[in-house]
Symmetry: C2
Amino acid sequence: MAQSVKPTLPQATSEMAASDTSAMTNNSLEQGDIAKATLAFEGRAAFDRLQALVAQDMGKVNDLIRARMSSQAAPLIPELAAHLIEAGGKRLRPVLTLAAAQLCGYQGEHHIRLAATVEFIHTATLLHDDVVDESDRRRGRASANILWGNKAPVLVGDYLFSRSFQLMVETDNIRVLDILAQASAVIAEGEVLQLTLANTISEDDRQYMQVIRGKTAALFEAATRVGAVIAQADPAKEQALTTYGDALGVAFQLVDDALDYGGTAAALGKNVGDDFREGKATLPVIHAYAQAGPQERAFWERCICKRKQEEGDLEQALDYLRAGGGIERTVARARAHVDEARAALDVFEPSPMRQALIDVAEFVISRAT
Amino acid sequence: MAQSVKPTLPQATSEMAASDTSAMTNNSLEQGDIAKATLAFEGRAAFDRLQALVAQDMGKVNDLIRARMSSQAAPLIPELAAHLIEAGGKRLRPVLTLAAAQLCGYQGEHHIRLAATVEFIHTATLLHDDVVDESDRRRGRASANILWGNKAPVLVGDYLFSRSFQLMVETDNIRVLDILAQASAVIAEGEVLQLTLANTISEDDRQYMQVIRGKTAALFEAATRVGAVIAQADPAKEQALTTYGDALGVAFQLVDDALDYGGTAAALGKNVGDDFREGKATLPVIHAYAQAGPQERAFWERCICKRKQEEGDLEQALDYLRAGGGIERTVARARAHVDEARAALDVFEPSPMRQALIDVAEFVISRAT
């Protein structure tokens, strides 16, 4: 792919690409910038290829989403839902459902419903998350809770959950319902766990891993798995896509948490340090804390648990993370999950779709390095 | 039932009875108090009889609720859920599911799951409602949002929704899932509609009726209907229990809204006037407004839409409602729905269960008079 070795990227066409571009800008294109730009560009190209392979189906999914987020009775519902859904999210989860179904040779129409289902679940979760986190930005816009207050996003989130539930019931497939019900429970439990872990810090990563499974991996896993199930794929293929979705989701969240400290470049960017400021102990910090001496431990406890932060603390945190390798170890962990995701797809014959899914997994890692 | 003609009631054993008793105390036992006490006592006795008929199943439902609201990962979930679930709600909705299944001769165990399902949906809705309404009391205790803030009740509500979803999937019955999915959507849409109608007033009751269907009738209807469906009742019986649940739910909410202005006795009690103070135009006010002259219209607009209320306004509102018959007309409307609920059960042979369901419908009206 010689043509991709160019640091000047064409205009972003997806949010994934857009956020990657800004991460690169933050890294101010210092050492290894050509290599990084290449990776990022190939990554975006990989996601574009995957999107292109499901583009026809995705058009139907978008139509269905628009139809089902409507409400004659309460125009506030489509208004608020559209603010988020039309804001140009990358639709990664529904794309994965469509891709999984297609990889398994599915010929019907239910995967359209399932793709819309996972997007509705995701959107409902974002609405409630932003209320709980008191967020003010989402997808480059003011978040719904800022514009409408907390009440409407709570209730519109519930409405989107109920719409997702209707959509999945229409597939008439009890196994699909079972998978999505389990995923919903893991997601909700993970959210509560995350809330109870706020402003705490631990030396072990067990609870953190449970949070990110709930936060990201459970829906990624369900998204790919239901694609296989609706296609009546054999058990080996269903398992492969289950493993792929879970591993991709875990890697995705690990990379997100590494990027919150600037990734392995660890340069300061405008979005760096959100988790730190909010007192969320993600894996980089857990790694650092586990091997810290008394002075560093006291630092993390003050900043994360007591949230008593002063000027220069974020820079100090980044120094500790650099010295202890907390970010590298987080990215290495993500790398292992990406390898697991890749390997899982060996059960499928080579095809452009299989390759696109492999490349998208690689792209996840390229964001962090 | 000569033995029930006694104004001194034995200690309440259910919330329904308790709230009725307090309404009576508020009415200060003036005219017709013996007759009212009789009605209330018979009403409570009716609910007690219904509860007794499903007592064995209800024990299993309570065990299942306790088991499924647990969480190894996040102990906050059972803690918060128990605060509400163990607070002694009357469990009217699960009782209705058990009763409907039993009336249709059901012999299996899935009705236990469905009863727990409807109680979880109800509880999740209450948690989110209290956040949205900024309520401070629920079932005689401080509400969850007061004790834990808004974040935990939003997320624990989501968890209970997902648990309800898992429970219903276990019945392996796609029609049941379809019914509960439609009900969830009606509930959520009604909640959003109610939010958008806050501090507005209308001469017609169309939107109000849609709100109370979402708020109360949709889950009552689904609760009785899934009991019939799981029992594989014939279409006439399923329809009868669908009609019964819906009509009972509408009547229940109409009576609640009449009681918020003291019922037809229109005496001032400690809970009278909540809707008025919050600027919610319920049916009594809609009736009054529709036939009001310019001065009265201005009064309602100031109090409900602008929420500019002064001392004496609630008394003025009650005077307008008395003069215009707003409360009587609301109760009369509830009466018509109770009659519809009764009549629907004609399709069943006489039995203690059918009689208990009829008596419970009568009890709903007895609360308001």
